[in-house]
């Protein structure tokens, strides 16, 4: 019996024995299916582990059995891995270790039944649909893995992305199966592989149509059909167990991990260690190491933060539903007005997400550039096998271009990404309103105008909504859904469902200047510029933010988004919020001189073409005005960090007070997905709570009184505490 004491039991946990279905379709063959009645997709929670234990106990004494097929409720519904909510709820390292041991023991018993493990039964996993983490690890304990060949199937070990490691034998069995280098690639990146790639890497042994999955797996288990497993053979000795080769691989991989994680994410280093030592240590010892690693990681703040963010992004999927739980109707045909970088990329993403899209622009050149960019993206997806030829063809077909506003009549949503001028946007929506159905959503991608103001005077203003994407559209995971004064609940649900259909995470925000993300970024970015103006070293400014955990320094970020865009966003914040948002004049001067950042070659930094056409930093822009004072010249790194990060935190607190966002949790999600705010902190508000709200309020008071802040207009207001900070 496995020990599950202390693990949370879901309130709707079904009676013992009901989560696993055991059938004997023919003599000698047993089919074990995970089928927990309380889950739409099985997860390894306490009830399922309990029932798997019961089932295995029964099978271990089944002398008739010579073939065992482990499968899911349906070919494309196996399991979503270990229950993330269980891990999130565990606060004691010992209980986490118990959870790990429970799974390890169960999978080890499957392994001992199997021929590979010296048993008498041929065990075949027959899986499909999502097969992440623990779901993949149970397969690895079997003799053979047959995977459903279907676009919905994804298999892999993504644990590192949640700040933990594959702890149910995955870090040990995968390198034994596919070799250390390939296993490191799979586990450190945490990629979920499509069937073709999984088969090519050797993670699975055979692909089969979902309809044939269990039949073929049964035939293989009964020995009626051959299924070879690719052996590592001599490679195992030359690489996986060769101390010299391993040392080289480890040092290379470690360098890469440290470069990518800056040492913030201990799970990647733990995984690197486990995987590279895997094949050369006995399995039992390796499994013990997994337990130790989880004990160190699972209750740590990084794992808890990453898991919490994962759960938050899952919760965001509820926004696409109506209050009564029904789904908002899907957007099947959409339009995008304005074929600039944003509009073009949004349209391209829609076409890739199986939405018919019509992109309109007055400029044929802009349309042509957008169409070519779309084709090149689709070609890349095709090359990486994310799309098959026929799907790629459809993704190209679905992308229509138009030089005028004709052809939008059947659209369910039209999104405008035209110039940020209210009269232009109103004109576009006014003309569209005459051409589309009254229930066609009119979405604006504005970042600086009021959705309510844009909707004014339009027929059916309840269908006008802000759908604010971030640049670069295909990479940034967050979309702000902006509710104007007239926007209906149905519109918010449909717009959120639209964002989800594009693979984005929606967050509903109020129609205030800058909405949520740009509003909290504004003071942070401006403070970085102020620090430079007041004598701080620009490299130290960027380094302080990166050290804190931001994805790039604020000065570099300004160059990335473009000085013109940043200045425009800044000035609209000043107009709305007054003194505390007052921006330094530095950017406007540079914008006037056409020094716009990366896109023009020089902004705050100077940029040159580096490897692969990517921009590379080449010192400060020589035309950058010199600092006007030396007030901040001697600030320590911590002081620099506080000046920037606490400006961010203080504005986030005001957003909570003003209900710009519905909850602290959504604020956390938006701060990480929208600004890249240190994910290992779990978001801005988790960070604030960890540091202590009272301590932050105190520190804000000190900063407000410090010379670099107090002596300039609006400085004190920027660092004023507000009710959310207690």
């Amino acid at each position: 019996m496995i020990d599950l004491s202390g693990l949370p039991l879901p309130p709707d946990a079904p009676p013992a024995g009901s989560c696993v279905r055991v059938t004997r379709p023919e003599p000698g063959l047993v089919v074990l299916a995970l089928d927990p009645p309380h889950r739409s997709l099985a997860v390894f929670d306490a009830p399922l582990l309990r029932d798997l234990d019961l089932a295995l106990t029964e099978l271990e004494s089944d002398a008739e059995m010579r073939a065992l097929v482990i499968t899911g409720r349906e070919p494309l519904s196996f399991a979503a891995g270990a229950d993330v909510k269980t891990i999130a709820a565990v606060r004691e390292a010992e209980i986490a270790a118990r959870f790990v041991r429970a799974g390890q023991q169960l999978f080890e018993r499957i392994h001992r039944l199997s021929q590979t493990g010296g048993g008498r039964v041929r065990v075949v996993a027959a899986v499909g649909g999502p097969v992440p983490g623990g779901a993949c690890e149970i397969c690895l304990a079997c003799d053979r893995i047959v995977l459903a060949n279907h676009p919905k199937t994804r298999i892999g070990l993504p644990e590192v992305r949640l700040g933990i490691i594959p702890g149910w034998g995955g870090s040990q069995r995968l390198p034994r199966r596919i070799g250390v280098p390939a296993a490191l690639g799979a586990i450190l990146q945490g990629k979920l592989h499509v069937p073709y790639v999984a088969h090519k890497l050797g993670i699975v042994d055979r692909l089969a149509a979902p309809e044939d999955l269990v039949r073929i797996a049964s035939a293989i288990a009964l020995g009626k059909q051959p299924c070879a497993r690719r052996e590592r053979g001599a490679w195992s000795w030359l690489v996986d167990r060769n101390p010299l080769a391993l040392a080289l691989i480890r040092s290379q991989a470690k360098k890469q991990v440290l470069a990518e994680t800056k040492g913030r994410y201990p799970a990647a280093l733990e995984a690197l260690d486990l995987v590279s030592r895997g094949p050369s240590t006995p399995l039992t010892r390796g499994l013990e190491r997994e337990v130790d690693a989880v004990r160190r990681l699972a209750t740590g703040s990084v794992a808890q933060s990453l898991i919490s963010l994962f759960l938050l992004s899952e919760e965001a999927k509820r926004l696409g539903k109506r209050a009564d739980g029904s789904s908002a109707p899907a957007i099947r045909r959409g339009g995008v007005i304005g074929a600039g970088v944003m509009g073009g990329a949004i349209a391209s993403l829609m076409a890739e997400s199986r939405i018919d899209v019509r992109l309109s622009d007055l400029s044929r050149d802009a349309l042509g550039a957008a169409e070519l960019a779309h084709r090149s993206d689709v070609a890349k997806a095709l090359a990486k096998r994310r799309l098959e030829r026929s799907q790629a063809d459809l993704a190209l077909d679905r992308f229509e271009v138009s030089g005028d506003l004709e052809g939008f009549a059947r659209c369910d949503l039209v999104l405008e990404a035209v110039a940020e001028r209210i009269e232009v946007k109103r004109k576009v929506f006014g003309e569209l309103a005459r051409r589309v159905r009254p229930d066609c959503l009119l979405a604006t991608n504005t970042s600086s105008l009021s959705v309510t103001a844009i909707a004014e005077g339009l027929p059916h203003p309840e269908r006008v909504v802000g759908v604010h994407f971030f640049n670069p559209v295909k990479k940034m995971p967050l979309v702000e859904i902006v509710r104007g004064r007239a926007t209906s609940d149905e519109t918010v649900a449909r717009a959120s469902a639209f964002a989800l259909a594009l693979g984005k995470t929606p967050v509903v925000v109020a129609d205030v200047a800058g909405f949520l993300v740009n509003r909290i970024l504004g003071p942070y970015l401006d403070e970085a510029v102020r620090l430079y103006e007041q004598g701080a070293d620009p490299a130290a400014i960027d380094a302080a933010a990166v050290d804190f955990g931001m994805p790039m320094g604020p000065l570099e970020l300004i160059d990335e988004v473009g000085l013109d865009i940043a200045a425009h966003a800044g000035s609209s914040l000043v107009a709305a919020y007054g003194a505390r948002m007052r921006t330094s004049g530095l950017l406007t001067g540079l914008v006037a001189a056409k020094e716009l950042g990366k896109k023009s070659g020089r902004g705050i930094w100077a940029w040159e073409k580096g490897k692969g056409g990517r921009a590379r930093k080449a010192g400060l822009n020589p035309k950058l005005p010199k600092p006007s004072s030396s007030l901040d010249a001697r600030l320590s790194r911590d002081e620099l960090t506080d000046r920037m990060i606490l400006a961010f935190v203080a504005e986030a607190a005001r957003c909570l007070d003003e209900r710009v966002v519905a909850s602290e949790r959504e604020l956390d999600l938006a701060s990480v997905f929208g600004t890249g705010f240190a994910p290992f902190e779990g978001g801005v508000w988790s960070h604030a709570r960890r540091r202590g709200l009272a301590a932050i309020a105190r520190r804000l008071g000190e900063l407000a009184a410090s010379p670099g802040v107090a002596q300039r207009e609006g400085g004190r207001e920027r660092y004023a505490a507000c009710p959310a900070l207690g």
């Binding site: 018919d356 019509r358 044929r364 349309l367 042509g368 550039a369 169409e371 070519l372 084709r375 063809d393 459809l394 190209l396 077909d397 679905r398 229509e400 271009v401 138009s402 030089g403 004709e406 052809g407 939008f408 009549a409 059947r410």
Partner: protein
């Protein structure tokens, strides 16, 4: 005179809307295209611009002479790629150069019979993609090779290899040859040139006029009314979309035409590549329905289909097909040649169009060949192919039938008389003709 139009339940059958892609010389701008993809682009654009819900279509009918080998029913592939829902069926029709008109003819017949009301008709040809084919001996060789099981047997098969097996069959030229008489289409034009005494110079002059008229039509915006620009697949960064048919030669001259050697009959032939249509890619999409249905969808129909007729003739004189078919179509619509504001006769060859014009005007031809007491009627040269024709615009074989209907429909919007005629010659000895009438607004 009140001729009775083709109709259903009292409502005339109409071309409700239509558009086409610019036509491109084969092997040129559309060389990176896929046949169904190219047609789908035209169909999708038409569905978008009309606002029609494709789920309401009775069927999609596509005319295409040479569907790619992997898209035998290219119509179905096209429909699905154009976003037409899967429950709407689709099929491909072929009547050689009139395949696009055949698609319209199918729709008209179906509507008349009450078997469907709303049809999407596409004429499509991607001649760039016509393949080279292994000859029969090579095919047999590969079949033997696949069947050989042992090494010895395989070596034996290899020994039977002959270099002649490498000679490909060219789908394009074989497709343009009539297997019943072995004549390639250009030769049938030579036969007509001799029979109707059309000189090389007359033919060249006509070809020059085709380019000049096409250029004028392009520059005045008359062609742009029917064209949607298209950025071809495979375009590179900075490449502009194709906006016009790229076969129009602004600098064409009699001198340049005179320099060309006869292509089909050396040395005395009169047909050159300069006074023939070019090998071309293109796609034209039309919505065919009843006037009542069109108006119910908020569409102002382009033109009423008065009549549509097919006729057979001597395969060796296939170029005269339009005369026979026009005689039938005019009779069915109770109209005379003099009633026509515009006439499009597909310019397969200059000599062939000129021969048709002579046959239209000839009392002898009318008596001997059409069974009438007089000539069919003289065509006004100003009203014959007023926007130029296939010699300049190109002849994507499966698309042209639909393209001519679209062009006539647009010309009728500003003409004096409301009637127009579109006709083509068809390899194998046939003609197709369609009489259109301007739709009152």
């Amino acid at each position: 005179m009140s001729p009775s139009p083709l109709s259903r339940a009292g409502s005339p059958i109409v071309v409700a809307a239509g558009l086409r892609l610019p036509q491109a010389r084969a092997g040129g701008r559309y060389a990176g295209e896929d046949a169904a993809g190219l047609g789908a682009r035209a169909a999708r654009e038409l569905l978008a611009r009309t606002g029609l819900d494709p789920a309401e279509l009775a069927e999609v009918i596509v005319g295409c002479v040479g569907p790619p080998h992997d898209q035998a029913n290219v119509g179905r592939v096209l429909a699905l790629r154009a976003g037409v829902p899967r429950q709407v069926p689709a099929y491909t029709v072929g009547r050689n150069c009139a395949s696009g008109m055949q698609a319209v003819s199918e729709a008209v017949t179906r509507i008349e019979a009450g078997r469907g009301e709303l049809f999407l008709c596409v004429g499509l040809e991607l001649m760039s993609a016509y393949p080279l084919i292994y000859n029969r001996r090579a095919t047999a060789f590969f079949a033997r090779l696949a069947a050989a099981r042992t090494l010895g047997a395989r070596l034996g098969v290899f020994a039977s290899f002959r270099p002649a097996m490498l000679a490909p069959r060219i789908a394009l030229s074989e497709g343009l040859t009539d297997p019943t008489n072995g004549l390639i289409m250009g030769k049938t034009a030579e036969i007509l040139a001799r029979e109707f005494a059309i000189s090389r110079e007359t033919a060249d002059r006509y070809a020059l006029q085709s380019h000049q008229r096409a250029r004028a039509a392009r520059d005045s915006g008359r062609l742009a009314r029917e064209i949607v620009p298209h950025l071809p697949q495979g375009a590179r960064a900075g490449e502009q979309p194709l906006v016009h048919d790229d076969g129009i030669r602004d600098e064409q001259s009699l001198e340049a035409l005179a320099k060309l050697k006869p292509y089909f009959e050396k040395p005395d032939g009169r047909v050159t590549v300069g006074n023939s249509c070019g090998i071309t890619d293109g796609a034209t999409a039309l919505v065919v329905t009843t006037e009542a249905r069109a108006r119910a969808h908020g569409l102002k129909p382009l033109a009423i289909v008065r009549s549509l007729a097919w006729a057979g003739c001597d395969p060796a004189r296939m170029g005269l097909g339009p005369v026979y078919a026009s005689a039938k179509a005019l009779a069915e619509s109770e109209l005379r040649v003099a009633d026509l504001a515009t006439v499009e006769i597909n310019e397969a060859f200059a000599a062939q169009v000129l021969a048709c014009a002579k046959a239209f005007a000839s009392a002898k031809f009318g008596c001997d060949e059409l069974g009438r007491g007089d000539a069919l009627g003289e065509l006004d040269p100003e009203r014959l192919n007023p926007n130029g024709g296939a010699i300049a615009l190109g002849h994507p074989v499966g698309a042209s039938g639909a393209r001519l209907i679209l062009t006539v429909a647009h010309t009728l919007t500003t003409s004096d008389s409301p009637y127009g005629l579109a006709a083509l010659c068809i390899g194998g000895g046939q003609g197709g003709a369609c009489v259109l009438e301007r739709c009152a607004s």
